[in-house]
Assembly symmetry: C2
Homo-oligomer: 109 residues x 2
């Protein structure tokens, strides 16, 4: 028996960042490519692009720097702001997990 949680942050009622999106951002950061990140996470490029696009349209600062064409066809870099989103969400998530683990011990189920 174990406790599970999912958290996310909304903006204008729409999902801004959550587990899946942060994971995707991390992959983009590692691979410097949306398509490579999508492949690594076994999702379609289109889905990955859509998710990233939603993040970008809701964010107040640029999250990605994209290059179309050119050497190796282009690529995508995650901005410092984007990286801070990753870091902040991950620590938040971990803090939540730790908190719930403690609370969970108090229960009698």
């Amino acid at each position: 028996m174990e406790i599970k949680s999912r958290l996310w942050i909304e903006k204008e009622g729409k999902p801004f960042i959550g587990f899946g999106r942060i994971n995707l951002l991390k992959q983009v950061d590692e691979t410097a490519s949306i398509s490579a990140a999508a492949k690594a996470l076994k999702m379609s490029y289109k889905k990955a692009w859509n998710l990233l696009n939603e993040i970008e349209t809701l964010a107040e600062q640029p999250v990605l720097v994209k290059n179309i064409g050119g050497k190796n066809g282009g690529g995508t870099q995650v901005t410092d702001y984007g990286k801070s989103l990753i870091l902040q969400f991950e620590t938040l998530n971990q803090n939540c997990i730790n908190f719930l683990e403690e609370e969970y011990k108090k229960l009698e189920l």
Copy 2:
């Protein structure tokens, strides 16, 4: 911009109780009827029954007392144990919300 969360408790890798199921349990407790609870939550009787059945099969103590036939066709009561599940989950959930609200203030997004 706001933070959202969903938590649930699993047993043997399967969902035991969560937001939706606890809500359903509450309705059953209020209406003393699975079918009335389903109608109130605008879900099919079948779905409600399935959800409750999963809770019951995973729980170690009885959660519901059901009567088929008889006056008014029968009905369903939530046991004390079932009520304790509701109460414990709801306080856990509220504690988590309060915790996240505090953590959220620390972020810079």
